[in-house]
C-alpha cells in the first residue's frame, strides 16, 4: 500500500472509529461486575444474578414501587387477606403474555397455572420440575418458606389462594422478592420436561418481563431485546446489553470511553472519578444495607461479651470510611440501616481504646491468634478494611490473622462457624426489618447456617417472633427497637457502616431510579442520542 493510501486509510479509520464508539439511541449498555450464575434465578441468590438475569426477564407476583419499599400490584392485581392473617387470596392480572422466542411460543396468556408451577416447583420436592435446580432453591429454603406455607390452591384460572401456618406480616413483601415471587411459564416448563431438558430453563429462559433474552456469550456479553408486547408498556430502549467486566478499574475505563453507558458495582473510592467528566455522572444512593462484623459467639474468647465489646471499642471507623469507602459512608451503630422503618438511632457509637484494652484483660485473653474471614472482590475493598481492623486490634493486644476467600466459600465456612470473626454485608430484600433480623440472628438460623454470629438468644427470638405475627406497624416498631437494643447490648454483631452505593451513568441515560435493595434496575430508562 502506498504511503498516501496508508495515510488515507489511517485517517478514515480514525474517523470511523470515533463514530463506532458512539452508540445508537435505543441501546443501553451496562458494565456489570461478574457473570450471572444462570438465568433461572429462583435457584440463585447473588445480587449480580438478579440484576443481570432476573430483573429484565421476569415479573413477580407483587412488586415494589421503584425507589421505595412500598408493595404495589405486579402480576397480582389485587388481594384479600383474611382477618386472622392466614389466608391470602390473590387476583391475577389478565392479558399478560409470555415471551415468544425461537425456542418457545406461548399458546395462552399468563394464568393461575403459572403461579402454581412457579411456587410449587420450589416448594414441593416431588414436583416434576423441582429438579431443574441442581442445588435446590437456596433462597426459598433459606427463608423457610415451606414451613410457612400450609397450602397453595388454584381457585380459578385467575385466582390463587395461599394459606399460611402462622400470621406473617412481611408475606406480601416476600412475594415481591425476585428469587421468591418470579413467575415462570408452566407451559414452557412442561415442554422442557417432556424432552428431558429442564436445564434449559437456565440457558434459554422465558419470562413475562420487559426484555426478551437474545443471547449470552459466556463470561462476556448478555443481550436482551425489548418486549414490545409488555403489559406495562414497552421499554424505552430497543436493546439492553450487559457487558461483564470483572476488573473495577477496567469498568471505569469502559465508561469513560463510552463503551458502556452505565456501570454498576463501582467502588466507593471512585466517587470523584467523573467529577471533571462532562459526559458522566455518579449516582449515589443509600440502600438498605449494613456492612458488619459477625463475631463467632461459640469461640473461646468471642463468647465473652466483654471481649466482643472491646473489639468494637478499638475500631477506628473513621479511617475505614476514609480509606475503603472514599469518605462517603456513615458509621453504623444498629444492625438495621438508618433508612429502614423501625430503625433505632439512639444507640451510641462505641470508641474508646483504653476501655477496650481493659476489657481485653478482664476477659482473660491469652494472646492466641484469631482469624478474620473477608471476601475477595465486591463493591468495597474488604481486604483493605480487614487490614485496617487487624491493625486496630493489634493496638489493643489482640492478634488477628486475615483470611481472604471467595464469597461462596466464605458463606459456606462462616455458616459452619469456622471463623472467629467474619466481615459481612447484608442488604434487605423486602424492606421489612424481619428480613434483617431473622435470617441472621435467630436461633433457627444457627442450624441453617445463616446466623454467622452463631448467637442464640431466647429473649431475642421471642421479640422477633412476636413482631412477625402482628400487622400493627406501631407495635412492630416498638418490638424492633427492643430487638436492636438487645443486639447492641449483647454485641451479637459489630455494625460497621452503612455504605453508599454508586452507579455510574452516562448523561444520555435518563429515568434511572435507585433501589433501596441495592439492585440495579434499568427497565424504565431511556437513552437520548
Amino acid at each position: 500500500m502506498s504511503a498516501l493510501a496508508l495515510r488515507r486509510w489511517l485517517v478514515a479509520s480514525t474517523i470511523s472509529c470515533t463514530l463506532c464508539v458512539a452508540q445508537a439511541a435505543g441501546m443501553l449498555t451496562v458494565c456489570t461486575e461478574s457473570s450471572p450464575e444462570g438465568f433461572d434465578i429462583a435457584q440463585y441468590e447473588l445480587s449480580v444474578t438478579t440484576d443481570a438475569a432476573g430483573i429484565p426477564l421476569y415479573d413477580q407476583l407483587l412488586r415494589f414501587e421503584p425507589g421505595t419499599t412500598r408493595v404495589v400490584p405486579g402480576l397480582v392485581e389485587r388481594w384479600d387477606i383474611s382477618a386472622d392473617g392466614l389466608v391470602y387470596t390473590l387476583h391475577l392480572r389478565k392479558g399478560v403474555k409470555f415471551h415468544t422466542t425461537p425456542w418457545f411460543k406461548p399458546t395462552r396468556d399468563f394464568n393461575a397455572d403459572d403461579v402454581m408451577f412457579s411456587i410449587n416447583r420450589m416448594n414441593d420436592k416431588s414436583h416434576p420440575a423441582y429438579s431443574a435446580a441442581k442445588n435446590g432453591y437456596v433462597y426459598w429454603e433459606g427463608m423457610s418458606m415451606r414451613a410457612l406455607i400450609k397450602s397453595l390452591d388454584k381457585l380459578d384460572d385467575m385466582t390463587v389462594r395461599f394459606t399460611l401456618t402462622r400470621p406473617e406480616a412481611p408475606f406480601l413483601a416476600d412475594l415481591a422478592i425476585q428469587t421468591i415471587g418470579s413467575v415462570f411459564s408452566a407451559e414452557y416448563g412442561t415442554q422442557l420436561r417432556k424432552v428431558g431438558q429442564l436445564d434449559k430453563m437456565n440457558t434459554e429462559p422465558v419470562g413475562t418481563g420487559p426484555f426478551v433474552f437474545k443471547s449470552y456469550q459466556k463470561d462476556a456479553v448478555i443481550r436482551y431485546a425489548a418486549n414490545t408486547a409488555y403489559w406495562d408498556g414497552a421499554p424505552k430502549v430497543d436493546t439492553m446489553i450487559f457487558a461483564i467486566t470483572l476488573d473495577p478499574n477496567v469498568r471505569l475505563q469502559r465508561l469513560k470511553a463510552g463503551e458502556c453507558l452505565a456501570g454498576i458495582g463501582i467502588k466507593s473510592e471512585s466517587a470523584h472519578v467523573f467529577d471533571q467528566d462532562a459526559n458522566m455522572t455518579m449516582v449515589r444512593s443509600t440502600p438498605l444495607q449494613t456492612n458488619y462484623l459477625a463475631p463467632n459467639a461459640k469461640r473461646k474468647y468471642m463468647s465473652d461479651k466483654r471481649f466482643r465489646q472491646a473489639l468494637w471499642l478499638a475500631l477506628d471507623k473513621k479511617t475505614v470510611i476514609a480509606s475503603v469507602y472514599g469518605g462517603i459512608a456513615s458509621p453504623a451503630t444498629s444492625f438495621l440501616p438508618p433508612s429502614m422503618w423501625g430503625y433505632d438511632g439512639s444507640l451510641p457509637e462505641r470508641h474508646d481504646v483504653e476501655q477496650a484494652k481493659a476489657l481485653v484483660k478482664a476477659s482473660g485473653y491469652d494472646g492466641s491468634e484469631l482469624v478474620l474471614f473477608a471476601r475477595v472482590g465486591g463493591a468495597s475493598d474488604a481486604k483493605r478494611a480487614a487490614e485496617l481492623m487487624q491493625a486496630d486490634w493489634a493496638s489493643i493486644g489482640v492478634k488477628v490473622r486475615v483470611q481472604m476467600m471467595e464469597i461462596g466459600e466464605l458463606y459456606k465456612r462462616a455458616g459452619k462457624g469456622e471463623h472467629d470473626i467474619v466481615l459481612l454485608a447484608w442488604v434487605s430484600d423486602n424492606g421489612d426489618p424481619d428480613n434483617f433480623l431473622t435470617p441472621n440472628l435467630s436461633c433457627a438460623a444457627v442450624e441453617g447456617g445463616g446466623n454467622k454470629s452463631q448467637w442464640c438468644n431466647k429473649a431475642f427470638d421471642e421479640i422477633i417472633d412476636a413482631a412477625r405475627k402482628t400487622a400493627d406497624l406501631k407495635k412492630r416498631s416498638e418490638l424492633y427497637a427492643k430487638a436492636q437494643r438487645l443486639v447492641y447490648d449483647e454485641v451479637a454483631v459489630i455494625p460497621l457502616i452503612s455504605p453508599t452505593q454508586m452507579t455510574a451513568l452516562n448523561k444520555r441515560v435518563k429515568g434511572f431510579v435507585t433501589s433501596p435493595f441495592g439492585n440495579s434496575d434499568f427497565r424504565n430508562v431511556s437513552v437520548s442520542p
Binding site: 479509520s13 462476556a220 461483564i244 470511553a257 458463606y411
Partner: protein, 342 residues
C-alpha cells in the same frame, strides 16, 4: 517411521493416565466433603446429603470412582460445573476458541517479530542492535506479565485517551458492544469478517492488540534469543561460507540458506511454548477480561468449582501432550537421526 510413531504414542499413554489420576485425585485431596462444598452456605439435611452423595457416585470405592471417571473422560463427559450446572466440556468448547485466537495472534506476533529480531541480531553480532535486542528480550521475560499488562492499560487507556482519543486501544473484551456477531466459528476475527458488518473486523482486531502483545512478550523473547543463537551456529557452518564465497548476496545467504536450517530448533521451541502460552493466558485473560479458559479456570479455583478445575486440568494437559507429540513427530520427520536413535 511408523515404528517411531508407535513408540512415541506408547510413551504418551502412561503420561495421560498419570494426568487423569492427578485430575481425579484433586477433589479428594481437598480437605472437607465435596458435597458440603457444593451446598454453599445452607447446612444440608442428612437425607439430602446422602442423596447427593449417591447421585454423584461419591459413596463408591475409590478405584471404582476412578474407573468411571476415566471411562467418562474418554467420552468427554467431564461432569457439570457446580456453579452453572452446565457440562464442563460444553463450557470449555464455548470459551476455548477465545483463548486459541488470542494465543495464535500472540504467537504469530512473537514469531514474526522474534525471528526478525533474532536474525538481525545474529547478522550484526556485537553491535548496539544486537545488545539492544538481547537486552530487551531478557527484560521481556524478566518482567511479571501482569504488571506489563497493567502498564499497557495505563498507557493506552488513561494516557492515550488524553492525547489521542481515537487511537486509544480498548482494554477489555473481544469486540465493541454494539456489534452483535453470530458466533459461527468462535473466532471473533473470522466471525466479524463473515458478518460483513462495517467496522466489526477492525473492532475485533483492535481488541486483540494489547492482550496479544502482553501474552506474546515472553514467547517473543524466547524466539528472538533462540533464533539468534541458532543463526549464529548456522552462520559459521561451512556451507554458508561456501555460499558467501560463491558470491551469493548476503541477503540470499541469510534468508534462503541459513535461516531454513536455523529454524529447526526454533520450531521445537515454538512447540514447547504452548505450555507457556496457556499459563500466560491465565494472567492475560484476567487483566483484559478476555473470556477464555484461563479466566474460567481461575474463577473456578476461587469458587471451588471442582469439576471445572478437574476438567480444565485434564484438557489443558492433554492438549500440551498432543502438541508436544506433534512437534516431536515433525522434528523426527525433519531430522532422520532422531527417528533411529534410542
Amino acid at each position: 517411521m511408523v515404528g517411531f510413531i508407535l513408540r512415541r504414542l506408547a510413551l504418551v499413554i502412561p503420561t495421560f493416565i498419570g494426568i487423569t489420576l492427578l485430575a481425579f485425585s484433586l477433589i479428594h485431596l481437598i480437605p472437607g466433603d465435596p458435597v458440603q462444598v457444593m451446598a454453599g452456605e445452607r447446612r444440608l439435611d442428612p437425607a439430602f446429603h446422602a442423596e447427593v452423595l449417591h447421585r454423584l457416585g461419591l459413596d463408591r470405592p475409590l478405584w471404582e470412582q476412578y474407573g468411571s471417571y476415566l471411562w467418562k473422560s474418554m467420552h468427554l463427559d467431564l461432569g457439570e460445573s457446580f456453579v452453572t450446572h452446565e457440562a464442563v466440556w460444553s463450557e470449555f468448547l464455548k470459551l476455548f476458541p477465545a483463548t486459541v485466537e488470542l494465543s495464535i495472534c500472540a504467537l504469530f506476533m512473537a514469531t514474526v517479530v522474534g525471528l526478525l529480531a533474532g536474525v538481525l541480531a545474529a547478522i550484526k553480532r556485537g553491535s548496539v542492535l544486537d545488545h539492544g535486542v538481547m537486552g530487551l528480550s531478557l527484560t521481556g521475560f524478566s518482567m511479571p506479565i501482569f504488571w506489563w499488562g497493567l502498564l499497557l492499560i495505563m498507557f493506552c487507556s488513561v494516557n492515550m485517551r488524553e492525547w489521542a482519543p481515537a487511537w486509544a486501544l480498548p482494554v477489555s473484551g473481544r469486540m465493541a458492544l454494539e456489534f452483535d456477531i453470530a458466533p459461527r466459528t468462535g473466532f471473533m476475527l473470522i466471525d466479524a469478517w463473515l458478518s460483513g458488518e462495517e467496522g466489526a473486523f477492525r473492532s475485533a482486531l483492535s481488541h486483540l492488540v494489547l492482550p496479544a502483545i502482553v501474552l506474546g512478550t515472553v514467547p517473543l523473547a524466547v524466539i528472538a534469543r533462540m533464533t539468534r543463537s541458532s543463526m549464529l551456529e548456522v552462520l559459521r557452518e561451512d556451507y554458508v561460507r561456501t555460499a558467501k564465497a560463491k558470491g551469493l548476496s548476503p541477503a540470499r545467504v541469510v534468508f534462503v540458506h541459513a535461516l531454513r536450517n536455523a529454524l529447526v530448533p526454533v520450531i521445537t521451541v515454538i512447540g514447547l511454548l504452548v505450555g507457556t502460552l496457556l499459563g500466560g493466558a491465565v494472567l492475560t485473560e484476567t487483566i483484559f477480561s478476555w473470556p477464555g479458559i484461563g479466566k474460567w479456570l481461575i474463577d473456578a479455583i476461587s469458587r471451588r468449582d471442582y469439576p471445572v478445575v478437574q476438567g480444565g486440568i485434564l484438557i489443558t494437559a492433554t492438549l500440551v501432550i498432543v502438541v508436544n507429540l506433534l512437534v516431536d513427530l515433525m522434528y523426527a520427520v525433519v531430522n532422520p537421526r532422531i527417528r533411529h536413535a534410542k
